[in-house]
């Protein structure tokens, strides 16, 4: 799943090597924490958060196998 988030985000940013995804697993949820270069934050969020929303929709849809709820934190 981290790989999916990284592949989705990388083409949007100017510093692809700074894209990082940290995972925090808890009893009933998994939190993916996405960090990018400070200059790229806007590109990942998009106008009115449209890109962020699309990324979340795709990521949430891709991991339905687990019983735990998945969250994606951006910065």
């Amino acid at each position: 799943m981290e790989a999916l988030i990284t592949t989705i985000v990388q083409p949007f940013v100017d510093y692809p090597e700074d894209v990082e995804v940290a995972v925090k697993e808890e009893a009933n949820k998994i939190v993916y924490h996405l960090t990018v270069n400070p200059e790229d934050v806007g590109k990942v969020i998009g106008k009115n958060g449209r890109i962020a929303k699309s990324i979340r929709t795709v990521v949430y849809a891709a991991c339905t196998d687990t019983k735990r709820r998945v969250y994606l934190d951006i910065m």
């Binding site: 799943m1 999916l4 989705i8 949007f12 890109i51 699309s54 849809a61």
Partner: protein, 205 residues
């Protein structure tokens, strides 16, 4: 994308050195001049080196297909993609056995993927493209459903003589409703609210 930034005494020198680093030829790269450099006096005082950014040209459509394939593989292993290009409009058709997962509820996952590919391709390409991603005829099925819904709700609006508001939809789907009721003289349609809650309202005349 493979790219390097190189410097040289002149722009030409810098480009040459970049091409050597990338191991390619001049006709296969995009060159962006960052600093033209200055000769300076006797080539010593106030001389500034030229800086260029050189990147290998890649077909944006090919890159979009690779990108889409990577996303689709996260849902199911056997997704096939066919590409059709009509001018600025590019159609990607997905098929595979877990396609329902990719479409999502009312196509929301498919629309999200479409949005991501659209943003991605227009970032890397100098031309502007419009992307349509379809999955096993979903867009066409959805169009038929929406047209039926439009006619049914138009009848309802006439019968109760009140405005009928539909649920929020993306612009492409609202357009289907508007054009379905364009020829109906008894109702008019308009969109109300702001994105992402913009929705069609059918009004009896």
């Amino acid at each position: 994308m493979k790219q390097v930034t190189a410097s040289g005494q002149t722009v030409k020198d810098a480009v040459q050195s970049a091409i050597q680093q990338l191991n390619t030829t001049e006709d296969q790269v995009n060159i962006e001049i960052i600093d033209e450099g200055k000769k300076g006096m006797f080539g010593i005082f106030g001389a500034k080196r030229a800086i260029v950014k050189v990147s290998i040209k890649e077909d944006p459509i090919d890159q979009a297909v690779t990108y889409l394939k990577e996303i689709a593989t996260a849902f199911s292993e056997d997704v096939a993609i066919t590409v059709k290009r009509e001018g600025k409009q590019i159609y990607f058709d997905l098929s595979g056995h877990k396609i329902a997962m990719i479409i999502g509820k009312r196509g929301q996952t498919l629309n999200a993927i479409q949005h991501l590919v659209q943003v991605m391709i227009n970032r890397i390409s100098s031309e502007h493209f419009r992307i349509v991603i379809d999955a096993e005829g979903y867009r066409n099925r959805r169009r038929i459903t929406l047209e039926q819904l439009a006619h049914r709700l138009a009848d309802k609006a006439i019968k109760i003589n009140k405005d009928v508001a539909l649920e929020p939809m993306p612009s492409s789907e609202r357009k289907i409703i508007h054009s379905a009721l364009q020829d109906n003289q008894q109702v008019e349609t308009c969109s109300d609210g702001t994105e992402p809650n913009r929705h069609v309202v059918i009004r009896a005349l």
